[in-house]
Symmetry: C2
Subunit: 314 residues, 2 copies
Amino acid sequence: MLKKKDKVILGVSAGPDSMFMFYQFLKIKKEYNLRLLCVHFNHGLRKESDGEEIFLRKVCKKIGIEFISEKKNVQDFFKGDSLEQTARNLRLDFFLKCSRQTKIKKISLAHHKDDLAETVLMRLIRGSGLKGLKGFSSKSKFKNLTIIRPLIEIRKKDIVDWLEINKISYCIDKSNLDEKFLRNRIRLKLLPLLEGLNPNIRENLYNLARNISLDYDFIYSLSYQKFTELKLGQMRNSLSLDLQGIKDLPLAIFNNVIRIAVEQFKGNTRQLETKHISEIRDLVFKRPLGSVVDLPDLQVKKEAKALIIQSLIL
Amino acid sequence: MLKKKDKVILGVSAGPDSMFMFYQFLKIKKEYNLRLLCVHFNHGLRKESDGEEIFLRKVCKKIGIEFISEKKNVQDFFKGDSLEQTARNLRLDFFLKCSRQTKIKKISLAHHKDDLAETVLMRLIRGSGLKGLKGFSSKSKFKNLTIIRPLIEIRKKDIVDWLEINKISYCIDKSNLDEKFLRNRIRLKLLPLLEGLNPNIRENLYNLARNISLDYDFIYSLSYQKFTELKLGQMRNSLSLDLQGIKDLPLAIFNNVIRIAVEQFKGNTRQLETKHISEIRDLVFKRPLGSVVDLPDLQVKKEAKALIIQSLIL
């Protein structure tokens, strides 16, 4: 994940995980000759938010680490989707902006092994395919940014123990957003029950996520390649795929090519459910030319030589 | 799953699920012009076992359905592995024998939607990759046998309700083998907790299994093809794969080619764990020629042009 002389942005919330990560980076800063930049996004969601930003700024100033923060009231940007998703998108935008400003292209985030187990279970509960179950990896890309997660093999209790022993201050996020509520239930109820059934459950979930990650990445990259080959054209209001070409795909690849096409066209696949993919499969393989399937914001139409994805908002 | 004039073996235990299936087949027997054969494997594990066999024989005689049963004391064949696995293997052997005797190549089993959700969770708890999480499908192959599972979209409660309304007798299996113990915990503790977090959990697990099934089958068939291309030779005590060829594979395919090779060589992959696959990956990509990895019953050796899987029991 790291090379000597690397420049690394540290995404720090001031909570225990990211403070632990911050101090581990300090420990190896000299040996690795690192340039570190600590960045903090103030979501303005809790009364403690501003205090946490000030706390971090002071810590960084004292130690002599560059610090950038930004405050945005997430509530102002929330459009009835998910508040966590809004917060996540704004935070990622902020990280991208920090990266552009400083030309540092690597960011380290403090997700650990227990987070991974919880994430896999959360995705399982909410409903997901391979893409969700892979959780997150030790290294991934987001646009021009390389995301590393050096704590991915570390257990939460080891983090808390270390902070305790080393008398490191951190802040505790007492908010209880939907996702955090679900995570808390998973952590406090579900994982202990699963641990009773198999003490190695976290290890198993970790291995599962890693294996699924490999499988998903392979299928995704093959599907992406097929999507590029089979895309006939893309305009502002429509995207068309070669009909015979997609009919000839193995079903696993077909499904992913449809997902990629919707993602490319619309920017996301958040409202695209399993049942929608089935409807499109029916359309392609069984229904007559000229038939359509209506999806949230989209219409998919079967024409003589092409499957057309078009916007409903013209 | 069914065509008119089909010949179908019904695997019936005398429990509620298989009795339900049995009566549904009777209802469509005439319309579909089916030949039905009811088969029952007596595991001899409980004091009620013989009574259940006699019960089923009587039911079939009364209705006029062919019936074959066989009794084997599973305990006598149990070699310290898993008792359920031993029972499952003996039962499958019996089904194959019935198929050979009668030349009927289709068998129907009574797994339903709740079984699928429980199976996916059981595999998740015990640790599994894609292969386990796909659960079972509505149609699969076992050697020359086509297995159909017509109840796969039916909920257990609807089965029990129907049996109640139609006053159908069935037997209850009170045994509590390891696997059944785990299944009971999943049914009585885990699923209600998950249902509290998401009322659609069974539907989600069902969709997950179906999606994963597609993805797994695709990766497996591609891996099998690569395995065939890269197998240099197989003798009684060794199997060799083209070293450069497997190095060039995407990692997801590499892992599956190794699994397939072990399966082909040894007959199963039961003792092959994720960590073993990692060790083989290390051997292939990082360690010097001549190095070996020791696995349960097997040794894997890296030679100049080949990766050799060899038996430790000569």
